[in-house]
Amino acid sequence: MNFSQINLLLLSGFGKTCSLFFLTLIFALPLGLVVMFGLICPFKPLRWLTRTVVWIIRGTPLMLQLFVVFYVPGMLFHTNLFVGTSGRFQAALVAFVINYSCYFAEIYRGGVESIPRGQYEAAQVLGLSRVETFFRVVLMQVVKRILAPMSNEVITLVKDTSLARVIAVAEIFYINEVRILSKAIIWPLFYIGVFFLLFVGALTLLFNYAEKKLSYYKL
């Protein structure tokens, strides 16, 4: 196996890693908002239900959740919900989206609850509806407040994608182990490290840029 062949293999794995990362974000960022509304819902049964779900998801390993999502539907209903290569990817995506929504929801909740009551009261006396208050007054302040914890979580997600290998999703580690490491070629491991460093480096720059963009006002 020559250098360019290894490169192509690793890139295909890295492509999977990236699509898992971006798709998880696309679904989990808004879903986290929905979960957050459950967490702060004045209707107690819904609030407790959401809290229990978040407790379970945050309290069990993501790896276990990957297994559960991939195997349990088939065991219970004797149908293969996730079939073939794309099925494995879908199962991983579902597990990641559920897992990260719960973490995001808690970060959002912290942000929303840190907004001073005066902001809500000012919006109320100005005749804004609750929806307007959330989207026009609260949300942008929340975004500014949660940027730092969100950058943490998003960076963790980059590296968590490697867990998808446990259900044989062909992300970069799986490819490396099955196709390259098995031929006793060690150096690509370091090569993969560089991939991740560059990716996280780019994300860090992006978050710094966003923080700068939002620094025109203080809370």
Partner: protein
């Protein structure tokens, strides 16, 4: 006819009865100052008038129309949709929206309000802008239109907050200790603006610790203590000839 009539307003937090039946009325164009020691119920009264707290019992009439009604045993008070619009409030802590420029702070609520109206009845964006510019000039902050709240002094913030409340043209404009969060040297500019707003059309209620200001600007003064109106009258009556011992004691502790 009185523009505002408050009848038997009661409010308690847990076992603590903060308002023990408050009655008063206010004529259009009048300025009412509410004075009294901390914990006397002044701010709670003002918050009830702005529906930030829901009074447990009592009625609020604006222009003869009942906008708020609550009585013992009712699950929820009856609040008319007009209620919030008839009142405006300026907070002690300004509560400007930090992510919006001064101009956008002024225009946010009127723009959202316009959206709810049918196209032919709504105020255009240019009209809202023109009103906002006029009000900013009125509070002396035209050059700060594009500044953000964090770039302003406390006094400037409070003047913006006053302009923002005026944008909605409330029937009654309330001030909750508008200068208590300000350094003494910034108090004057805010009080000057409030004084300049006084005219025959504008009704204002001011909760304040500035006795000199209350005496000069008000048509009517209420002294509150322990959740009731201890004394009510013209500034001369309250400040020069207080009838109640509590009022006299309160005023004697204050240097003029």
């Amino acid at each position: 006819m009185a523009i505002l009539e408050v009848k038997n307003l009661r409010k308690h937090f847990g076992g603590n009865e903060v308002l023990k039946g408050v009655d008063f009325s206010l004529e259009k164009g009048n300025v009412l100052s509410i004075i009294g020691s901390s914990g006397g119920g002044k701010t709670t009264l003002l918050r009830c008038l702005n529906f930030l707290e829901k009074a447990d019992e009592g009625d609020i009439f604006v222009n003869g129309e009942c906008v708020y009604h609550a009585e013992a045993g009712m699950k929820k008070p009856v609040v008319s949709p007009k209620a919030q619009r008839s009142m405006g409030l300026v907070f002690q802590q300004f509560n400007l929206f930090p992510q919006y420029s001064v101009m956008d702070n002024l225009m946010l609520a009127p723009k959202l309000q316009a959206k709810r109206l049918p196209a032919d009845a709504r105020e255009s964006a240019q009209e809202i802008l023109a009103r906002a510019e006029a009000l900013l000039a009125r509070v002396g902050l035209s050059e700060k239109a594009n500044a953000y709240p964090c770039e302003l002094s406390g006094g400037q913030c409070q003047r913006v907050a006053i302009a923002r409340a005026l944008m909605l043209q409330p029937e009654i404009l309330c001030f909750d200790e508008p200068t208590s969060a300000l350094d003494p040297e910034l108090t004057g500019e805010v009080l000057r603006v409030i004084r300049s707003l006084k005219n025959s059309e504008r009704t204002m209620i001011i909760v304040t610790h500035e006795m000199e200001f209350a005496r000069n600007v008000s048509d009517k003064v209420i002294f509150m203590a322990d959740g009731v109106i201890e004394e009510m009258g013209t500034p001369e009556e309250i400040f020069d000839h207080p009838k109640s011992e509590k009022t006299a004691a309160f005023l004697s502790h204050r240097a003029f």
